[in-house]
């Protein structure tokens, strides 16, 4: 990894880190410094400020002063990025670090002085240009695509979102682009877009203004401003597959600069490349022939092409419980073959052809192929558990075989595990436990280690889990219902609290399954408050009402649509439909046609069912279930509440 320094601070030196080694280069490209550091993991980010060198590897932040290790700090989780700030009138540096699943922390002299939990999942930091370089503040980019500003003032670390994600890809890298006195924040995203946002240097807390977007088709790995070859400002970017290119402002490209390169130079370059490609072609043909020959020989050699380079990540659930698998490849893809032992719903990119095959024999398994368009290097597929009344208590392992389009003809196997509680992808501060919610609880005690329980939780929760430590506490929230899950475990005992009874039921089932299958004796107890369903319903009541209205509107719109109204009739002076209907009709384009209403109904019914199951109270359940369903479908709030509360009175 290369760390580009901000212009004006230390433009004459370049520092690079690879593995556990740090090298320094002078302006002319001479190595003037090589340090073999003592960190055990690979260095993931680095920061140089004056005589201070700060390295992050895994969970450790190590500070060097004048090339001697001065102090180190171990965070709760992986350190994603770091920035250093020199305090005025002091030789000490303050550090601002992003910690996975936790948010941001400020360290002073190896001590944690402040921290903030951020649910958007920040991934990158960049320090604003002078005069702000001395204040402790930095722009951050997040996994959900948003950009904001972190500031440490008066011993309080706070953050402010300056640009929402709006469905854009996660931020992979950030840099600065300065041109004609204006300062732009350059953002490279995983979806292949490079964006320039205008930043008001005087007032950096202002909202960002998007000025420019470029799409390069593959994840951007780094962006930075600068100039190569000419005096004009350029934006340099590198990509996942190893391409490096520069962008210039449109005015310069269309104007004089393009013709700056003389025609004969271009032709020369082209012919040079042609010769090189021809040589490579010959060489490749030779090697290919050699390989082919070896396949025909009687003595069995070994064909072991190196592993193809793939990136595969699974997101937490979004709309309708879909979970997205994003696959990025260094070579273009021909096909994907997806296998799972369980039937799953699946969908993919519009450009690719998905075909779900018939199952094998009597097995209920998923076999699907995705045929990609020529040149596809990035692809997403969305999968989810089939909605059925059965509660899922075992996570599914999805095997994805990626078949590249060209040589070598090998298929790489990628495996993803589909977590059961896929909605719990947002990180929360554990202090949320103090909120007055109706907490249900399940606890487990037995002879299991922290590593074991972490491995069981991998089946349940999406995203990265905290590294096993002697005592782990973390909180997650449901992206749709906003319910909370707090996990607290140590060797031999674990406790899970949630205001969502279904979550507790799933955890109970899964943990007992896991402990039985691994032959570990464990005792599971749970404690369900009587009012948990009604309390939980109160929390989502407004959402429920809103979704109900939206649902009704969509139904109405569908009916209006089949009336075959054309615009002339609608826009006439004498409208033929009433005002309310007009409003609904006119909203057609503006509003999206998705509603979670049905899903909410299912959730609440599931709560009710789980409550009865966990409290072993099946009296009147069937009658009430039907009544509840009716009340939910009609959005009869009073009636719903009565049923949800009544359950409790019958018990007591």
């Amino acid at each position: 990894m290369v760390n580009y320094n901000f212009p004006g601070i230390q433009t004459d030196k370049i520092f690079t880190a690879s593995g556990n080694e740090v090298k320094g280069y002078t302006r002319k490209g001479k190595v003037f410094l090589t340090i073999e550091t003592s960190v055990s993991d690979t260095i993931t980010s680095m920061c140089v400020l004056g005589g201070d060198l700060i390295l992050c590897s895994g969970r450790t932040i190590t500070c060097y002063r004048d090339l001697r290790e001065s102090n180190s700090y171990i965070c709760d989780d992986r350190v994603l990025d770091i920035a250093a700030f020199s305090a005025p009138n002091s030789t000490k540096v303050k550090l601002l670090a992003l910690v996975a699943n936790k948010g941001a922390v400020v360290l002073d002299n190896g001590r944690l002085v402040s921290h903030v939990t951020m649910s958007s999942g920040p991934s990158r930091l960049t320090v604003p240009p002078p005069p702000h370089a001395s204040d402790v503040n930095a722009f951050y980019g997040t996994a959900d695509g948003s950009i904001g500003l972190l500031a440490y003032e008066d011993s309080i670390l706070s953050y402010k979102c300056l640009m929402e994600g709006r469905g854009l890809g996660s931020v992979v890298c950030m840099g600065w682009f300065i041109n004609n006195g204006t300062t732009h924040l350059a953002v490279g995203r995983h979806d292949g877009s490079i964006q320039l946002y205008l930043v008001d240097v005087e007032n950096i807390t202002e909202k960002l203004r998007l000025k420019f977007t470029y799409f390069c088709g593959e994840p951007v790995t780094s962006v930075t401003g600068g100039c190569v070859g000419s005096e004009e400002s350029e934006l340099l970017a590198s990509t996942f597959s190893g391409r490096i290119f520069a962008l210039r402002s449109r005015r310069q490209v269309s104007g004089v600069l393009l013709s700056n390169i003389p025609q004969d130079a271009l032709t020369l370059r082209r012919s040079k490349l042609e010769v090189e490609v021809a040589r490579l072609e010959k060489q490749t043909a030779n090697e290919r022939e050699k390989y082919q020959r070896s396949t025909r020989s009687l003595t069995a050699g070994l064909s072991a092409p190196p592993l193809l380079d793939f990136q595969c990540e699974l997101s937490g659930a979004i709309q309708d419980a879909w979970q997205e698998v994003r696959i990025t490849s260094a070579v273009s893809l021909d096909m994907l073959f997806i296998y799972c032992q369980r039937k799953l719903d699946i969908q993919t990119d519009n450009a690719a052809v998905l075909s779900v095959c018939s199952s094998q024999g009597s097995h209920e398994d998923l076999l699907a192929t995705v045929r990609c368009q020529a040149g596809t290097r990035r692809l997403w597929i969305q999968i989810r558990y089939k909605t059925s009344s059965m509660r899922v208590s075992e996570s599914a392992r999805v095997m994805i075989y990626a078949l590249p389009a060209g040589a070598p003809r090998v298929a790489r196997l990628l495996t993803v595990r589909l977590p059961i509680l896929s909605y719990y992808s947002q990180h929360e501060n554990t202090e949320i436990e103090n909120e007055p919610r109706s907490w249900s609880e399940v606890s487990m005690s037995g002879s299991f280690s922290v590593a074991e329980i972490t491995s069981w939780l991998i089946d349940i929760l999406p995203g990265d889990l905290p590294r096993p430590a002697s005592n782990v506490v973390f909180a997650r929230s449901h992206t749709l219902l906003k319910t909370i899950l707090i996990c607290r475990y140590e060797r031999g005992s674990a406790r899970f609290r949630s205001d969502n009874i279904s979550t507790i039921a799933v955890i109970r089932d899964t943990l007992s399954n896991c402990s039985i299958s691994r032959n570990i004796r464990a005792e599971i107890t749970y404690n369900i408050p009587d009012e948990c369903c009604s309390e939980a319903f109160n929390q989502i009541k407004e959402d429920f009402e809103r979704e109900y209205r939206k649902y009704k509107d969509i139904v109405l719109r569908k009916a209006l649509g089949s009336l075959d109204l054309d615009d002339t009739r609608v826009n006439n002076d004498s409208p033929i439909i009433c005002e309310k209907y007009m409003q609904v009709w006119n909203n057609i384009e503006s509003d999206t046609n998705v509603t979670n209403f049905k899903e909410l109904i299912n959730t609440i019914q599931q709560w009710y069912a789980d409550w009865h199951e966990l409290c072993l109270n099946l009296k009147d359940y069937n009658n009430n279930k039907i009544a509840l369903q009716k009340a939910l479908n009609d959005c009869n709030l009073e009636h719903i509440k009565t049923i949800l509360i009544n359950q409790n009175s019958t018990q007591t």
């Binding site: 025609q263 042609e274 096909m335 073959f337 519009n350 095959c357 094998q360 075989y401 615009d567």
Partner: protein, 717 residues
């Protein structure tokens, strides 16, 4: 190569919705092109930007000054236009409704003809055809094609194997005369010449659109999202998309394709590569070629379902759509980019070979071998066998050593229930070096099966891909019956005479069947051949007897199979005409039932129509009476309104019944046509044509006995 977007040269709004697919552009006055479209159920709109010409039946639209509306009392199913009337040099409008066809002279405001179309109307085209010196209108119905002249007289009629979904005229055999290309729902493109189907092209899905490209090429689009181009009957290329193609047009040396969702792309004619792309704001309704700007060259006119019309000039190679000159260095730049890409791909490949060579120091032992390895001399073998027990074809894939087949993907179109692939991924406990896959091709057409097998070891992280293609012959689902089966021959038989040596027949059998061992004559003297086959689909028997005297008999209960065999044999032996005698008692019985049904339905229909008319008249009388009554007697008014409601309900019920009978009529007509088609396919050439002509006559006369006779001997005489 980057794909760029394009700018339209003109753009206009019709302010009317447009029903997808029912759009045409015609010169009703002989000089000015007018866009004509169906704007919902029974309304036709005509856009005339070159001055008003509308009088008579058409009314000026309130929504748009240059649009006239034409209201029909029936749903509009198809629109077409062409210079049908020989003496008038202007286009006539042809309007197809579910059971009628109207030819209308817009300029003169007169009807050319109006006639019933009992076979239904799906598509209409107007053009010159064959040796006829006047343009004809072709009407594609439910499994029939009909040609009409300008007076509405039937010129010829023929049967096809399903609902006609696309038709164009095209000089298929390059004899200077147009043939008719008919695309049907049964996934065949048929070429009709001289009222005789000369070529059948099997495709992998129902045909949606056809369009001529050059003298020798035409393009096609299917309901499974495939589009492609045929050159002289051979497929040049095809690509598949998730969307369905709505229209294809050849514009400026590129194939423009308009997809349902409103995307339009321009593709290279020889490879199908996308050159330009635009996206309309809403779904597409039509894409036509017309000189709408009166500049002398046709533009591509795209119409969206909201009535937005956009015109694109023909695509031009270097400049694309922009008129601005590109810099001379642009070509070099592009070449450099492409060379860079090529270089990277080559380097990648080379890298892999090098790494591979480096890794060959590992041994093949289970513990030491890397998770990506495989012996270099691994080979993959593929065999296809009939499996009578499982009633399918068994595709066996095996390696020649201890490597296992982790998974296999079979890619083929039209033979799987879902999608285009069949994948097998054995349970880890069942991983072997051999893998078997069952195939069941549902139709008797040759199929290319592409196989991708992933080979490695059970714990591998990366598998080697082996790719193979296997061709299944046309009659692969028939296998040699076991000698033990003593079943008697079927009583259904078709017999005919050929003058060919049995040796040639053997070649035909070996080419078109997938038998465990090839059929060979025991000695040169042998003049006869008897073959007993067994169908894997339904276990029925097929007996083929080739007699020494040239008499051939096919015993099978499946009349369609008999037709397929005869057609295949005729093509192989290059027979231009073949007459046959057929005995298919089952089919004859079915024919009688269908004919009965057809005449019954006809009666019911006319009775119901009369009833409906009567009730409708009553309502029109009662309604004003009820309104009048409101002024003097509320009670009276109430009772009258009640009557109106009752009558209305009766009318509605009547309507439902009529719809049901109509549906029934259409299905029985379709199965009737299918039987006639099968009968025609038992003969070749002029005899086949005679069957169609004679059966058309017999159906018109409702003569069941004659029809049976035609089925048996090929003629009613």
């Amino acid at each position: 190569m980057q794909i760029s977007s394009a700018q339209p040269v003109f753009k206009l709004e019709l302010n009317h919705k447009v029903t997808p697919g029912i759009v045409t552009i015609a010169k009703f006055d002989g000089t000015h092109a007018c866009l004509t479209a169906c704007a919902g159920y029974d309304k036709i709109i005509i856009h005339h930007p070159h001055g008003s010409m509308v009088s008579g039946r058409a009314q000026r639209s309130q929504a748009h000054g240059e649009v006239s509306e034409l209201n029909l009392s029936q749903a509009v199913i198809a629109l077409a236009a062409g210079p049908l009337k020989p003496d008038a040099a202007r286009d006539m409008l042809l309007i197809g409704s579910p059971s009628q066809i109207l030819a209308y002279d817009v300029h003169e405001n007169t009807d050319l003809f109006f006639r019933d179309a009992p076979d239904g109307v799906n598509v209409i085209t107007v053009d010159n055809f064959g040796k006829y010196d006047e343009p004809l209108a072709f009407v594609g119905g439910n499994s029939s094609v009909q040609a009409l002249n300008w007076q509405g007289n039937e010129i010829f009629w023929n049967v096809v194997g399903g609902k006609v979904s696309a038709m164009i005229t095209f000089d298929f055999d390059k004899d200077g005369e147009n043939e008719l290309l008919v695309g049907c729902e049964d996934s065949y493109i048929r070429v009709l010449k001289n009222n005789q189907f000369i070529v059948e092209i099997p495709e992998t899905g129902p045909i949606l659109c056809l369009s001529p490209v050059t003298e020798v090429r035409f393009s096609y689009g299917l309901a499974n999202g495939t589009i492609g181009i045929y050159e002289e009957g051979i497929r040049l290329w095809r690509v598949k998309s998730k969307q369905n193609a709505l229209a294809l047009q050849w514009s400026g040396e590129t194939l423009a394709c308009c997809w349902n969702n409103g995307r339009v792309d321009w593709r290279d004619g020889t490879s199908g590569r996308v050159l330009r792309r635009v996206q309309m704001r809403t779904s597409a309704a039509a894409m036509l070629l017309a000189d709408y700007r009166s500049v002398g060259a046709p533009d591509l006119v795209c119409v969206s379902d909201k009535g937005e019309v956009m015109g694109y000039p023909p695509y031009q190679e270097n400049t694309g759509f922009s008129t601005a000159k590109t810099l001379p260095s642009e070509e070099d730049r592009q070449a450099i980019t492409e060379l860079f890409n090529k270089k990277q791909a080559l380097l990648m490949e080379l890298q892999h070979y090098e790494a591979n060579a480096a890794s060959s120091v590992f041994s093949l032992d289970e513990d030491e071998r890397p998770s990506t390895a495989m012996p270099t001399n691994t080979r993959l073998q593929v065999a296809v066998n009939a499996s009578p027990e499982d009633q399918c074809l068994e595709l066996t894939i095996s390696t020649n050593n201890d490597t296992i087949v982790r998974a296999a993907l079979v890619l083929a179109e039209g033979i799987f229930e879902t999608g285009e692939t069949l994948a097998r991924h054995p349970h880890p406990a069942q991983l072997r070096s051999i893998l078997q896959i069952s195939l069941k091709p549902p139709r008797d057409v040759p199929v290319d099966v592409h196989i991708k097998a992933l080979v490695g070891y059970s714990g591998s992280e990366q598998f080697h891909i082996f790719e193979l293609t296997k061709q299944l012959p046309r009659f692969s689902m028939y296998t040699k019956a076991l000698p033990s089966s003593v079943c008697t021959k079927s009583d259904s038989v078709v017999s005919f005479r050929i003058t060919e040596r049995v040796q040639r027949i053997c070649i035909w059998i070996n080419q078109n069947f997938l038998l465990d061992e090839e059929v060979e004559l025991q000695n040169e003297e042998m003049k006869e051949l008897h073959l007993r086959l067994f169908c894997l689909r339904d276990q029925s028997l097929l007996d083929m007897e080739f007699g020494a005297d040239g008499n051939v008999k096919f015993y099978t209960t499946d009349i369609r199979l008999a037709g397929n065999l005869i057609q295949s044999l005729a093509v192989f032996l290059n027979l231009s005409d073949l007459q046959s005698v057929a005995q298919f008692p089952e089919t004859e019985k079915k024919l009688r039932i269908e004919m009965d049904m057809a005449s019954q339905v006809g009666e019911i229909r006319s009775r119901l129509a009369a009833e409906t008319a009567e009730r409708a008249q009553l309502i029109t009388a009662l309604l004003p009476a009820a309104q009048d009554a409101a002024s003097y007697d509320l009670k009276e008014m109430l009772s009258r309104y009640k009557e109106v409601i009752m009558l209305n309900e009766e009318l509605l019920t009547g309507c439902h019944i009529r719809r049901a009978t109509q549906e029934q009529a259409v299905t029985s007509l379709k199965s009737l046509h299918t039987i006639l088609q099968h009968a025609a396919r038992l003969r070749v050439g002029k005899y086949s044509k005679a069957v169609v002509a004679a059966s058309r006559k017999a159906v018109k006369e409702d003569n069941i006995e004659a029809l049976i006779k035609i089925l048996q001997v090929g003629d009613s005489a």
